[in-house]
Structures are given as structure tokens and as C-alpha cells.
């Protein structure tokens, strides 16, 4: 579906000089500086995949997505979307993709939602039967009928994003870009959007690339995750894989029958102690939970037990910080 090889994008920007006189001088002689936003990234995405595309602000996410949309011309490298070179076939390419940018709306601000959808129907030349069918689908999954006659400016953020989602899918795109589609949305609305994303991916086989800063989105929705930082892909793999590679650290939560003094077990360190509960951190390659439990239960009677896996967010934070492991994994 998507094939990207050694894709690079440089931005040329006017170098700003400081102060008033500096700005005036810039009017006459401008110096340029080049920044590399995307630095030779390569990846392939197959039809029907649901990929989480994450990275800190300014990492090159939006730039790479814009190149996939054909609205930005790459400096070098290859990019193919469903066999098309996006920037050479912009119009053809846009027919097979849909996009939602959480921070911008493509709906007409002053007119009811349904009128914007009608306009998109005409722009994309959506057949009437398909249009009706999709509207029914959106009513069912997004409760579109609750607010379809309300002007966009009077919608709540959650409703607006649902309307934008409907607009992006009206022409049955094969590929959907979601760039922070849930930014600022409350938990209930978020859950609805997540379910919707999963459903269209599963039922309509729409390939989805989801950009988000909320790791819960990734955990609940995506099967694969790509992490980009400083214009480079620093991780590409499944969620389980990332947990296996990075999540060596586990925590054993033990609740004792009564309060006991602090202690540490072999290959495990006491992380936290709270009343009758204690948290032991251990590396799962150095010791197993069962040996650890055996050791602890030989000391004090245990009431309850749990093993905590590290949060994906914590793992991603380690990768952002640029642990040397990151490069190892890409090499594999």
C-alpha cells in the first residue's frame, strides 16, 4: 500500500536576523538556512494495517504525511502510495486517501454539517447509492444524525471531529491519515472514535496511519508502531515486540497479611512500600516471577499478588531519550 525508501525532505527557510534593523536587512538580502525535517526514512505498510505513527513534536511526522498526500515534494528518495507517486499524481492520489487533521477542519464553518458532506459528494463525484450507504454507516457508528443539521461552528469538539471523520471517509478511501484526530477530546468521545477507527479498519479494510501523542490510543487501536525522531525512524515493529525489547523491567506487587519490614529479594529491588503492599522491580531475564514469589513467600505469608508490565508510555519515553538500544533494534 505504502512504499517509502530513503525519503528525505529539506526545508529552506529565510534566516531571521534579530532586532528591527535586522528584519529590514532581511528584506533586501536574505540568508537561507536548510533544515532536514525528514532524514532518509524507509518503511512499507501493507493493505489493511493499522499503524501508530508517533514521535515528539517536530520529529517529521507531519512532513512525511504531507509527502504521502502529495502536497509536499520530497527532496530525495522514493515514495509510492498504492502504486502512485503522490506529488506527481496529486489529484489521482487524493481520490484514494482520506485525512483528518485534528487541529484543522475541512468543513464549512457556517453551514450545517450535512451541506459540507454534500459538497464533498460533488467534489469527489461519489455515486448517490454509495453516499446514502455511507451516511447510514456514519449515523450508526458516529451518531452523525444527532448533529448533521447544526452549523459546524456550533458543534462541540468531539462532534466536529466525528463530522470531519465522516467527511474524510465519504469517498471510501483505501488509505486514511489521522493526524492527532483526538486532540482535546473527552474520554467518552475518545473511546467512541477509537472504536470507530478499529471498525472501519476491520470491516472496510481501510489502511490507517494514526498520529497521536496519547499512548492509550496506540495501545488500544494499533497493531504496529513506528517511532520517528529527528527525522529518522527509530523503531518499527509490533506492540508486543516493543514490549519484549524494551520492557525488560517488571514489577511484582505483593500484598502481605500484615505489615512487614522492608527487605529486598535476590535480583529484585524494593521499589515502593505502602502499608501492607510492596512493589519489587526486577529484570525478567535475570529472574522469573515464580522464583521471586517463592523467595518472598518463604519469608512472610502473602495475601495477594500481581505482576505489572511497564506502561507503553514509559517505554516510548526511553526511546525518545535516545537510548543506544534504539539503533540496535532498527538494525535487526
Amino acid at each position: 500500500m505504502i512504499h517509502v525508501k530513503h525519503l528525505t525532505k529539506d526545508y529552506k527557510r529565510v534566516k531571521r536576523r534579530e532586532g528591527f534593523l535586522g528584519s529590514v536587512r532581511t528584506l533586501f538580502s536574505a540568508e537561507y538556512e536548510t533544515t532536514r525535517a525528514v532524514d532518509g526514512i524507509s518503511f512499507d505498510i501493507n493493505e489493511g494495517e493499522l499503524v501508530g505513527y508517533i514521535g515528539p513534536n517536530g520529529a517529521g511526522k507531519s512532513t512525511s504525511i504531507k509527502m504521502l498526500c502529495g502536497i509536499l515534494v520530497p527532496t530525495s528518495g522514493e515514495v509510492l502510495v498504492n502504486g502512485l507517486v503522490p506529488h506527481k499524481n496529486r489529484m489521482e492520489n487524493t481520490r484514494q486517501i482520506g485525512a483528518v487533521f485534528g487541529q484543522k477542519t475541512q468543513l464549512w464553518w457556517d453551514v450545517p454539517v450535512i451541506e459540507s458532506l454534500k459538497l464533498f459528494r460533488d467534489i469527489y463525484k461519489v455515486p448517490e447509492a454509495q453516499y446514502k450507504h455511507n451516511l447510514e454507516l456514519f449515523n450508526e457508528l458516529l451518531d452523525l444524525n444527532e448533529f448533521q443539521n447544526t452549523p459546524v461552528r456550533q458543534l462541540s469538539l468531539g462532534q466536529r471531529l466525528r463530522a470531519d471523520m465522516a467527511a474524510a471517509l465519504l469517498h471510501n478511501p483505501r488509505l486514511l491519515f489521522l493526524d492527532e484526530p483526538m486532540i482535546g477530546v473527552d474520554i467518552v468521545a475518545k473511546e467512541k472514535l477509537r472504536t470507530f477507527i478499529k471498525e472501519i479498519n476491520r470491516d472496510q479494510k481501510v489502511t490507517i496511519l494514526l498520529t497521536t501523542h496519547d499512548m492509550t490510543d496506540i495501545e488500544k487501536v494499533c497493531s504496529r508502531i513506528m517511532i520517528i525522531d529527528h527525522g529518522r525512524i527509530v523503531y518499527d515493529g509490533s506492540l508486543e515486540q516493543i514490549r519484549a525489547e524494551y520492557g525488560k523491567q517488571r514489577k511484582l506487587v505483593v500484598e502481605f497479611e500484615e505489615e512487614v519490614p522492608d527487605f529486598s529479594a535476590p535480583y529484585a529491588t524494593l521499589d515502593k512500600s505502602e502499608g501492607k503492599k510492596k512493589w519489587f522491580a526486577f529484570n525478567r531475564f535475570e529472574t522469573s516471577p515464580s522464583t521471586l514469589i517463592a523467595d518472598i513467600s518463604s519469608r512472610y505469608p502473602i495475601l495477594d499478588l500481581a505482576v505489572e508490565e511497564p506502561e507503553i508510555e514509559e517505554i516510548v519515553r526511553t526511546i525518545y531519550r535516545g537510548k543506544p538500544e534504539a539503533t540496535d533494534i532498527q538494525a535487526k
Binding site: I71, A99, E115
Partner: protein
């Protein structure tokens, strides 16, 4: 064509939101028609025969120019500048539409809307209240519609080219102000171009602005007839083709070096 109507439809839906704005525009047209009629009648009473045409023709010219006042400036440069500045231009480029055609459809949709809610009612009011004459014959009437459409297209391309500057230099409001003023002056909206003296007259006859308002109005009032009218339409066509060519070329240049902001 369906696309043009689709955009026009959006404006009908938006009008409910801006009712006050609509009534303000409508009443300003009436005031302007009244004012220009009063002005020409006064001037003709002071010095009859000084303006080259009959008072009826002049009043018709003036009143009609006010009635169609709003048709031309549908605001593509503002739209384009706004989209570029906010980065929302990405969303426009994500449509399976040629950008030039997209802007034309958007602008024409608004123009058609204004024809129906402002210009036609304005002409009726002009006809019943302000001595707006009908065209001398059906041929003039038909040619007027053709010339008005061409005039709109010439004006659109001037606006569109200005809007394209927003992609390069970002800030176009001051240039827009200058272009707008120049256009209104040289288009003959307030003063017919045959009254321009010497060099100014020659210049006005060469600039594309003559093709926007002056030509259709002169055809309507019968100042330009027969061969002269046909010649004027060719003049419009010449500028339309030229501006169209420049627009296509410039967009090709810009598209390659697009750097979208924001996001």
C-alpha cells in the same frame, strides 16, 4: 458545472448566519444607486452635453455599475492568504481538484449567489426607482451578458494571481488594497473611461481592468455597438487568455516549491 452550483449552494446556507451582513450590502447598493443617479442628474443640469452621452445613458451606466458592484470581488485572494497562513491550504490540496479550478468554482459559486440575491434585485430596484433603462435591443442585452461573464473571469484571474502571491511572500493585504483601488478606478466603475483625459485615457484603454466593468456597461448602454462592441469583447478575450496562461504557469512554479506552514 455541477461543482459551481455546489459551491453556490454553500453560500445560500451560509446566508442564514450572516443576515445582517446581507441586509447591509443590499441597502448599500440602493444608497449607491440613489447617490450616483443624483450626482449625474446634477452634473447634467449644470453642464448638459459635456459628457459625450445622453443623460439617460449616463444614469443607466452609473446605476447599473452599482447594481453589479458586488459581483466581482468574491475574495479569492483573502481566502488563499488565509489558507496559506493557517496551513489549511493542505486540506485544499487534498481534494481531487485542480487548484485553479477549485478557486474558480469557489468564487463563481459565490458570484452566482450574489447575482441572484443582490444584482438581479438591485437591477429591478434600479429599473423601478432610478431610471435604469433596458438595453436598446436584444443583441446588446445578449452581448452584455457575455461581456459581463468575461469581465468576471478577467477580474477573477487578476484576483487569483494576487492570491498566488500569498504563497510566495505571505502577506498580501497591502497589495490587495492597491490592486482593488486601481481596479475600481481603471475599470470605469465610477467614471466611464471615455472621460479620462489624454495619457490616462490611453493607459486605461490598454489595462485589463477596462475589460472587467467598462466593456459590459458600455455595451449595455449602447455606447459600444456593432464592430466596436465586438472589438471590446475580443479585448476581454485577449486579456482572459493572457491572464489564464500566466496563472497556469505561475501555479506550476509555485507547486514545486510549496512549503506549507503550520501543522
Amino acid at each position: 458545472m455541477k461543482l459551481f452550483w455546489a459551491f453556490a449552494r454553500q453560500n445560500f446556507h451560509a446566508i442564514a448566519t450572516y443576515r445582517f451582513d446581507f441586509w447591509l450590502r443590499a441597502s448599500s447598493i440602493v444608497i449607491l444607486m440613489y447617490g450616483i443617479r443624483w450626482l449625474w442628474i446634477t452634473l447634467y443640469t449644470e453642464s448638459p452635453g459635456a459628457f459625450g452621452v445622453s443623460m439617460q445613458q449616463m444614469v443607466t451606466y452609473g446605476v447599473l455599475s452599482m447594481a453589479i458592484n458586488n459581483l466581482f470581488f468574491t475574495g479569492p485572494p483573502y481566502y488563499m492568504a488565509h489558507q496559506v497562513r493557517t496551513g489549511a491550504i493542505d486540506l485544499d490540496l487534498l481534494k481531487p481538484l485542480d487548484f485553479h479550478l477549485h478557486m474558480l468554482a469557489r468564487s463563481t459559486g459565490e458570484m452566482l449567489f450574489r447575482v441572484l440575491v443582490l444584482a438581479l434585485p438591485g437591477m429591478l430596484v434600479g429599473y423601478f426607482l432610478f431610471d435604469l433603462q433596458l438595453p436598446a435591443n436584444a443583441r446588446s442585452g445578449f452581448l452584455f451578458v457575455v461581456a459581463l461573464l468575461l469581465g468576471y473571469l478577467v477580474n477573477f484571474h487578476l484576483d487569483y494571481l494576487l492570491g498566488l502571491l500569498a504563497f510566495v511572500s505571505i502577506e498580501i493585504h497591502s497589495i490587495d488594497w492597491v490592486l482593488h483601488a486601481t481596479s475600481r478606478f481603471f475599470s470605469g466603475q465610477f467614471l466611464p473611461l471615455w472621460l479620462f483625459p489624454g495619457l490616462l485615457g490611453t493607459l486605461a484603454n490598454l489595462l485589463p481592468f477596462r475589460g472587467t466593468i467598462f466593456v459590459p456597461l458600455s455595451i449595455y448602454t449602447g455606447v459600444l455597438q456593432g464592430g466596436a462592441a465586438a472589438h471590446a469583447v475580443w479585448f476581454q478575450l485577449f486579456w482572459l487568455v493572457t491572464l489564464f496562461g500566466i496563472s497556469r504557469w505561475l501555479w506550476g512554479q509555485i507547486q514545486v516549491r510549496i512549503i506549507s506552514q503550520g501543522g
